[in-house]
Amino acid sequence: MNVPIIDPLQGDFPEVIEEYLQHGNMKCIAFNRRGTLLAAGCADGSCVIWDFETRGVAKELRDKDCIAPITSVCWSKYGRHILASATDKSLTLWNVVNGEKMARVTLQQTTLHARLHPGSSTPSFCLACPLSSAPILVDLNTGSSTVLPVSVSDAGNGTTAPHPRNKFSDGSPPFTPTAATFNKYGDLIYVGNSRGEILIVDSKNIWVHAIIPISGGSVVKDIVFSRNGQYLLTNSNDRVLRVYENLLPQKFAAKELEAISSNDNEFQGIEKLKVVGSKCLLLFREFQDAVTKIQWKAPCFSGDGEWVIGASASKGEHKLYIWDRAGYLVKILEGPKEALIDLAWHPVRPLVVSVSVAGLVYIWAKDHTENWSAFAPDFKELEENEEYIEREDEFDLMPESEKAKDLDINQDEEIDIVTIEKDSAFSDSDASQEELCFLPAIPLPDVPEQQDKCLGSSSKLEDSNHSGSPFSIEAAQNGQAILPASSPLEVVGNSTAEEAVETSSLKRKRKPSAKGMELQAEKGRKPSTKIKLSGKSSKSKNKHGDGLDTNGSVLEDDVTDDYL
């Protein structure tokens, strides 16, 4: 990944919608640790795993018991398990490799956000934030749950700690969601409560170690760590996003916290917790839209923690605001006129993925301007015209001078062609466990058909590919996404070489090709089979053959042309 010649501005932010993914009605998304796979929870209870490199469906996790819409998905650290929470109050743990359900726990309430314990390779603990009460730690093997404290009364530390298991008699402020998250290694849980306080709770013994009050004291809706664990983001009801710097070390944070706590003997009770809290988190920045004062939704950090992105929670809007860590708003991205329901930033690349209420996943990427000097090394791109002053002897006829280049190269230097450099972006990857980065790609068999020997496509198609990125929805200027089935598709479609097989390739029509018809007869159509968008044609069936595949989109069976 960290190859020296790849654009050093990888840590930048996206600008336009590059593509969208469609498969069923997706509700929530999560990247795996390396960003090679994207898991999406659907409204029908299944989880779809996309191979992010090819933008194709890699796997589907389905089970007859899981039919309720998924509210959140979370990957395990090594990418072998996925935890999905659904509206039927259940939590399901899936094994990604074989696609089987490993565990299923039913709680008393529907969980809005479920997070697997990040420290372990075979996770059995998870943190579930229900819709309207305190977050709970659930043991997936036994099904038992422990309620986390959401507030500390003056009676001192620990007295509000564990309620008897499985009872919600905590009397916590009713019917307001409380947000919680694990820290990077899972030994501490940061809980944001409805009084505008962040509580740091030990995940093993559920003791509240520290309290950090947020100014304004309004309900905390989201609480998120950056990928490296150095920054914490809170989203409060007072329409402000706050970024805190995490002063605790990444590893063994709980121990450090206990040490701080026990060293401090001046204060007691809540005062003490607040003092300890001030040593754990430091308010770094606040982000808000001073003009329109919008509520925020699904805020998160970029992969390197340099940027913060938040979505506008206003009705029907699909707007993304990007700030840099210094607090300046750098970009507002506008998406299609469909409300946004979830958002995720790619762990490594400057890509953002957003889910709209229509069940589509939009991929935002940098607008790439072709780097022409990459094509010819002696080509220098100029920003503006430069006066060229010629040398005195520019046009003189010189006798052939020896090119001394070869002599400069010391050909006897030792070269190492075997040692592999570690990838610094994933410096903490534990080499002991195999991380699952890819699901094996099994080619789906072709239907035997008579080969359409049409070679209608000529160099004309080649030319149209020279934009360098046939994926880009050309008409998506200024971040406006155009919905499929309109003109941009024609642009994309025509430039794909799928057309090569069709006789009508050079026209922009979507007539069913001979090959398309044959492929339509393909039996055993699995939902993951690539199906083209049949923009303008009269067919409503799934088919291959038409050139819109490059969108990476897969249609549901019942989508027709009226899809718009």
């Binding site: 933008r55 690349r349 799928e498 490059t550």
Partner: protein, 330 residues
């Protein structure tokens, strides 16, 4: 055992100046069966199989342990130019003059998918290390990236202005390098399809082959002026040159042999397989035995075995091993 030319002849022929390899390679077996020129040979990633592609439109799969024929794959309509194994060794992809790239299931010894889209001969193909994509280069001057699962063409890279002679992925699959008769090697970001770099030398002889080093930091290029060069691609400068063989007409691939010392291996139009020491660039052995241009070489991933294939006058695949092992076999 087929009679092997004792490698000492090679050393003697050069006047005894050439250093010789401590354990010279000798011919172990000659695999016959192809009816026309062999175009490519590749070992599987685990070393248990050897695939050979030929102008007779078929692919042959041999077992490396006993060198017997395991399967013959037919289905292409024209001669096959290149073959590549998937990372798990379960699938093969082959590029053919019939403009298609085909994916074969080795367990069933049958074709699984046909990737159509190129508008001229498909010349070279390669799986990426994750084996969810295939890159193929063609005489239509483009490089195409295909998704293995659906067979969809994901990208068409406007790679060159002459036929593309080789494509290769680097170790983590993030880069693709392509070479062409137009004298350029271009490096592409496989995720986005954007050109990252172009390697060009002063004179630009047609580049007939390119490949990443095992650690992905260097690239080895072969040009039709009988030269092999090892480049540091980020700096855009070449570091080593290997000469002595003959290569001015055909696209002859080269390989790194790292199992027992570091060598560069290449075929040649004088019917020999050349071995150079990586660091000193000296020819340490010439394997003789073929009766036509050696058009393909491949090194076994873990054993000291080299496979070579030759053109129409010869039509065979020869397996060379280092002498010690040969004696142990006998």
């Amino acid at each position: 055992m087929a009679a092997a030319d004792p490698p000492s002849t090679a050393a003697a022929a050069d006047g005894g100046v050439t250093p010789s390899i401590p354990q010279p390679y000798v011919l172990r077996e000659t695999l016959t069966g192809h009816k026309r020129a062999v175009s490519s040979v590749k070992f599987s990633p685990d070393g248990s199989l050897l695939a050979s592609a030929s102008a007779d439109k078929t692919l042959r799969i041999w077992s490396t342990s006993d060198l017997s024929l395991r399967a013959e794959l037919s289905g292409h309509d024209e001669g096959v130019s290149d073959v590549s194994f998937s990372a798990d060794g379960l699938y093969l992809c082959s590029a053919s003059d019939d403009r298609t790239v085909r994916i074969w299931d080795l367990a069933a010894a049958a074709p699984v998918k046909t990737l159509t889209g190129h508008t001229n001969y498909a010349f070279c193909c390669s799986f990426n290390p994750q084996s969810n994509m295939i890159a193929s280069g063609s005489f239509d001057e483009s490089v195409r990236i295909w998704e293995v699962k659906s067979g969809k063409c994901l990208r068409v890279l406007p790679a060159h202005s002459e036929p593309v002679t080789a494509v290769d992925f680097n170790r983590d699959g993030s880069l693709i390098i392509s070479s062409s008769y137009d004298g350029l090697c271009r490096i592409w970001d496989s995720a986005t399809g954007h050109c990252m770099k172009t390697l060009i030398d002063d004179e630009s002889p047609p580049v007939s082959f390119v490949k990443f080093s095992p650690n992905g930091k260097f690239v080895l290029t072969a040009t039709l002026d009988s030269t092999l060069k090892l480049w540091n691609y980020s700096a855009g400068k070449f570091l080593k040159t290997y000469t002595g063989h003959v290569n001015s007409k055909f696209c002859i691939p080269a390989a790194f042999s790292v199992t027992n010392g570091k060598y560069v291996v290449s075929g040649s139009e004088d019917n020999c397989v050349y071995l150079w020491e990586l660091q000193t660039r000296k020819i340490i052995q010439k394997l003789k035995g073929h009766t036509d241009t050696v058009i393909a070489v491949s090194c076994h991933p873990s054993e000291n075995m080299i496979a070579s294939g030759a053109l129409g006058n010869d039509k065979t695949v020869k397996i060379w091993v280092q002498k010690d092992e040969d004696q142990r076999e006998a």
